[in-house]
């Protein structure tokens, strides 16, 4: 858990104007802290997406090996978003249903007695059901997320417009 807050603090440091080497250090710290948090933290769910996916995405975005070049203003927005996401992940409760539904492997005793084709087909159907369930969940969450993106995107666009025209 502390690694999340280290990553958030490093992302906040990225808001301060400094030479390019400083930003590379920030990227290194955020990436390292996110990757360590993936392996040390209990899995959580944030907006229907696993915390591991969020953390790996942030690590990819901030990776210093193949850096992504964006302008300063966009990096500031991304820094703030990342801080918020890390904070939400840190405060979210651990998900009890986070374990992936996988077919249970039978013990050796049972396997030797009855590993028939019907059981194998049952395992396959279990797998397909779990995959379908995951796809349905992704679609449901995507629907609600797209609604939010449209509404908040329009609000942000209006705010940008107001700021731009008030600056002139």
């Amino acid at each position: 858990m502390p690694f999340l807050y280290i990553a958030a603090a490093a992302a906040l440091v990225g808001l301060i104007p400094m030479p390019y080497f400083g930003y590379t250090l920030v990227k290194f710290f955020v990436t390292a802290a996110c990757l360590i948090a993936v392996f040390t933290m209990p899995r959580k769910m944030l907006w229907g997406v696993s915390s591991n996916i969020w953390l790996v995405s942030i690590a990819v975005l901030y990776n210093p090996i193949f850096p992504i070049f964006l302008n300063r203003e966009l990096w500031m927005v991304i820094d703030l978003l990342v801080v918020l996401i890390l904070f939400f992940i840190g405060t979210a409760p651990a998900d009890p249903d986070a374990k992936i539904v996988t077919p249970k492997v039978r013990s050796n005793e049972n396997q030797s007695s009855s590993t028939t084709r019907t059981e194998k087909s049952k395992l396959k159907t279990n797998e397909s059901i779990s995959v379908n369930d995951i796809a349905k969940k992704i679609e449901e969450k995507g629907d609600s997320f797209s609604n939010n993106v449209i509404i908040y995107g329009l609000v942000i666009l209006v705010i940008f417009g107001l700021i731009t025209f008030s600056m002139r």
């Binding site: 300063r72 679609e139 995507g142 629907d143 993106v149 995107g153 666009l157 940008f160 731009t164």
Partner: protein, 55 residues
């Protein structure tokens, strides 16, 4: 699902084009241009997802 993903990608591309052309026409500063372009791209991507889910 695949259709929705394709719709999102097409929406993002269309959004980037609309945002880039629109902000160029309005004559925004380069810093705000990218932010408005990315916002419009996100909105268009979300609209693409919604349209694909309704069809």
């Amino acid at each position: 699902m695949v259709l929705k993903i394709i719709a999102v990608i097409v929406g993002l591309i269309v959004g980037v084009m609309i945002g880039a052309i629109g902000s160029e026409m309005i004559g925004l500063a380069p810093s705000t241009k990218s932010m408005i372009t990315s916002t419009i791209a996100l909105i268009c991507g979300a609209i693409g997802w919604k349209l694909a889910s309704k069809s």
